[in-house]
């Protein structure tokens, strides 16, 4: 752009390359470690060239952390959370923007306030309600009518449990609301004149128009869901519902034996790959999604 002085350019490149080492260095170390034998990986100083034991390490990690089912669980729940969030966001924003009800402000604020209630500060009660979803319903019915119901629904160790508490989405709702607000009023009016009812308008016009929005949201939500840690860790005691992120705990080397970092890193590499691929391949969408959540 402005000065094209060789010195300044050289400095810029130098800093950018330092930055690249800072960012990619860890990735390279994870990768090389995952290809080395136990002996190589524990060598001091660390040898930065790849070895030949990658498949062996992956195999070991796969067994140790039970990665097959774990990755599958992660994939299923991430996709469900992603789709769920998009659907909820699109629908909620539709209700807020395209209908005039005094309650919409209440609803909007209720959704907004969830931003201030991160899981970390309500872990135990959330766990409680997941283990007994109808607890509040029973409590309310009992307080009002005195009748004790025996309604029960336990979400622990189930896909519903992994997904449902995570799909409420203030961010997505705002994003969709923002998008709807940019559409001209005449679009809805034209559809009304053409005889479309609200649901029809939503499906035929709003959803297809929001495709880019949807893709952007999908990338950030997939990454979000895949990287969930605390909730799945908390609510899956049954190993068959473990997600990859939780399974990673099994890869932490034990303190007593010689740490098998090569196996740990092979596992970590596989677990971190899917969101990385999404971000790298769909970077445009991802960045767009992320930046527009700022509003």
């Amino acid at each position: 752009m402005i000065e094209r002085t060789p010195i300044l350019n050289a400095v810029t490149y130098f800093i950018m390359i330092l930055g690249l080492i800072l960012i990619l260095g860890p990735f390279w170390m994870i990768f090389t470690a995952s290809t080395q034998s136990l002996q190589e990986v524990t060598a001091v100083p660390f040898n930065m060239t790849p070895g030949g034991d990658f498949l062996k390490n992956v195999h070991a990690a796969w067994d140790r952390a039970n990665l097959g089912p774990a990755l599958l669980n992660s994939l299923i729940t991430s996709l469900l959370v992603m789709v769920g969030k998009i659907a909820l966001a699109a629908l909620s924003a539709f209700a807020i923007v395209y209908f005039k009800s005094p309650l919409r402000h209440v609803f909007f604020w209720m959704v907004f306030l969830t931003l201030m209630l991160p899981l970390e500060v309500r872990v135990i009660p959330t766990y409680n309600i997941a283990s007994d979803v109808f607890q509040p319903v029973r409590w309310i019915i009992q307080t009002i009518t005195g009748i004790e119901l025996s309604l029960q629904w336990n979400l622990l160790n189930s896909y519903s449990g992994l997904v449902l508490p995570l799909i409420a989405t203030a961010t997505g709702t705002f994003l969709y609301r923002q998008f709807y607000m940019t559409l001209p009023d005449e679009l809805a009016e034209a559809a009304k004149m053409d005889g479309a009812r609200p649901l029809r308008f939503f499906i035929d016009i709003l959803l297809p128009l929001s495709r880019t929005n949807m893709l952007a949201l999908a990338t950030i939500m997939f990454v979000y869901a895949w990287n969930q840690y605390l909730w799945p860790k908390l609510m899956t005691t049954d190993a068959s519902y473990q997600t990859a992120m939780v399974a990673m705990r099994a890869l932490v080397p034990s303190v007593n034996a010689l740490p098998e970092w090569n196996v740990s890193m092979a596992g970590a590499l596989i677990i971190m790959l899917p969101p990385l691929v999404v971000v790298a391949v769909l970077q445009r969408w991802f960045v767009r999604g992320l930046v527009s959540t700022e509003k």
């Binding site: 960012i23 990619l24 500060v121 895949w226």
Partner: protein
Amino acid sequence: MNKRAVFKSWWLPVLFALPQLLLILFFFYWPAISVFNWAFTLEPAFGGAGERLFVGFDNFRDVFADSEYWRSVSLSLFFAFTATGLSMFIAFILAICVDRQLKGSSLFRFFYIWPYAIAAPAVGLAFRFIFAPESGLIAVVNTWSPDLWNPAKYGSHAMILVIICFAWKWIGYNFIFMTAGLQSIPRSLLEASSMDGSGPVRRALDIQIPLLAPTLFFLLVLNLTESFVGPDTYGIVDLTTEGGPNKATDVMVYRIVSEAFRGLNYSGAAAQSLVLIGLIMVFTFIQFRFVERRVHYK
């Protein structure tokens, strides 16, 4: 939020809002009410099934009387400010360089975003290896003198480790927003300033930073919030130090969750949770004030 063209039905919006409404009522508000309830009450003695005992602010008093708690608060503060500062500083330098749009810049940009994709626990595990005392990158210093670096043993080392993890992961996020912010600064402004004879550092100080101020402020508040109460902090600490050694990295989020987990003191954890919720509200409020101010820059 007003549209001229609206539909008339009253029950359709309710139907559309219902799924999300139920989810937030069940999984956000009901638990939040429990937290509130627990924070001001105590379990009846001997785990009786009776009503919980209302104790006013006793739980808070207990929490605040505990020196461990204050230690955790100061650790959190230290962690949050250092990690935020480090991450934003590096991201800013990189963003400024990339914004010069030299040949190949877009390739650098492509990679700088990557850390955001990596889950905090994975970052924790990877850096635990990279910074392990017995192998990895840094272990070599221990061959010069034993235990020159050992995060498993020294609290300060452990703190450095978690700070590095958090800062590294958030470089990606900060970088994305800073480049977006820098891109929105009109080129003509920079050109005008260079016509006035300012060098790149002057320009950064006089033009880019002031114009980027809203973005930087937004990121500052967000980074602080996230490092205080965010899931990333929890995930990183849990996979690297587990709050140790000797609670040297027992930051507030980690403490609340692990205390709640151990199930010893729900009421105490609830009181601490309320404090954190209050903190988030303050941060959000600041953020909002700032959003209003931002309008002037646009």
